[in-house]
């Protein structure tokens, strides 16, 4: 009898533990309205190699002289490089019912005629889909990450006016289309893994999200 009770108790415990472990609850949030950020200048990644900083508050931290070799160098270092006094992006669900998404870019301090584009890496998960291999219906599917560049109207780029300002916007669906991607990747749970501002003429990164502090 004791053995039987122990077995039942152990079995019950195992069932409870298993159900807890597999109680997946990664449903989509009910709202995620905007991705809004200013951009700061992008610098090359640093792998410290001997340079030490003796300024106070840094505890002798190691670093590298700020470099822009793999990132965009503004003029006069590179005549095709981009100057920038500030810029920001806003990506939001659009229209109100969602499904398309809209990206707005605004910036100042560029060279007149400067061409820039916004780079995004997205991971989209959609619900209620039908599948084959295996056959299924009403399934939730995550798609492979896609990297796209958004901009309009000049060959996929935003263009600075004569005063060095840029104000442009593009539907996320249109951006996906111009990158050869299906528009359905703009809907439902869209993770923005990375965002950057890219110089269309050098193809180097000018800036990424951040703050000046």
């Amino acid at each position: 009898m004791r053995k039987l009770m122990a077995t039942v108790a152990f079995g019950g415990l195992a069932v409870i533990m298993a159900s807890t472990a597999f109680a997946a609850d990664s449903r989509f949030p009910t709202k995620a309205r905007t991705y809004r950020t200013f951009f700061v200048r992008a610098f090359d990644q640093c792998t410290p190699a001997g340079l030490s900083v003796v300024s106070p508050g840094l505890g002798g931290a190691f670093g590298c002289f700020a470099a822009t070799t793999t990132t965009d160098t503004p003029p006069p270092g590179d005549p095709l490089g981009a100057s920038m006094s500030f810029s920001r992006i806003l990506i939001k669900r659009y229209p109100a019912a969602g499904g398309q998404g809209r990206l707005s870019f605004f910036g100042k301090g560029f060279q007149a005629g400067q061409r820039v584009k916004v780079g995004l890496t997205l991971r989209t998960t959609r619900s209620g889909l039908s599948t084959k291999n295996p056959i299924g219906s009403n399934k939730t599917v995550t798609f492979a990450d896609v990297s796209v560049t958004c901009g309009t109207p000049n060959s996929g780029c935003f263009v600075a006016n004569s005063r060095g300002a840029i104000a442009g916007n593009q539907l996320l669906t249109a951006c996906l289309t111009q990158n050869g991607q299906p528009t359905g990747l703009a809907a439902e749970n869209v993770e923005i893994l990375s965002a950057s501002l890219i110089n269309c003429d050098t193809n180097k990164t000018i800036a990424i999200p951040g703050i000046l502090n």
């Binding site: 949030p29 670093g63 822009t68 006094s85 500030f86 998404g101 599917v141 749970n189 993770e191 800036a207």
Partner: protein, 205 residues
């Protein structure tokens, strides 16, 4: 005469090339004048997909994909919505709802910080711009964490200097006129209980 003109033109070209080359080696790239805030609503984090044999039917979606999984990401935490705001003063605020009372979270950031006007050794220098190795930090740092209220909501904040300790000097510039250029390479919301990413910046239909 034409030889002299040619020589002058050649000298001009050499000088111009010199002007192009020298600044790229020595000039310090100016920071933007303004970058006030980063405001991310959070989408649910899912495992990455390397498409196999699964075909997806339907218009407007890729033909291949993966069933949603949360093996390397968190699949147990409930979340109705969440938002991360990082302000100019280094204040990191987290708000959200639909969590479970007692859940504990941290905001995980990967930062690339460039600081201006520094003095250096090896080589010795002054008034230099220095980029530091990328910093992966949890905010607030362990053992602290953001705790969900009894009603399942969260509204709390910490600051960048606390997260970056012992290098708190990386959080802010020496003066207001000499701010740090803080690139946010990556941001996510992490469950302390599972150690996995719950959510990332994104938008939702």
């Amino acid at each position: 005469m034409s030889k002299r003109i040619r020589a002058v033109v050649a000298a001009g070209i050499v000088a111009a090339l010199g002007m192009i080359v020298v600044p790229s080696a020595n000039a310090q790239v100016a920071f933007p004048k303004r970058a006030k805030q980063v405001k991310f609503w959070l989408a649910r984090a899912m495992d990455p997909c390397t498409p196999g044999s699964l075909s997806v039917l339907g218009a407007g979606v890729p033909g291949t994909g993966c069933f949603q999984t949360n093996t390397v990401t968190d699949g147990t935490t409930t979340m109705r919505y969440g938002k991360i705001v990082i302000g100019k003063n280094g204040r990191i605020a987290l708000s959200g709802a639909g969590f479970t009372f007692g859940d504990v979270f941290r905001v995980r950031l990967q930062l690339r910080i460039t600081k201006q006007g520094l003095t250096t050794k090896n080589p010795t220098g002054s008034n230099k711009n220095v980029t530091f190795a990328d910093q992966a930090v949890d905010c607030p740092p362990s053992p602290s964490a953001f705790t969900v209220r009894p009603n399942g909501s969260i509204a709390t904040h910490t600051d960048l200097a606390t997260c970056l300790a012992p290098y708190s000097g990386l959080a802010g510039g020496a003066t207001a006129a000499q701010p740090n250029n803080i690139e946010i390479v990556d941001a996510s919301l992490v469950s302390v209980l599972t150690g996995k990413i719950i959510a990332r910046p994104g938008i939702l239909r």
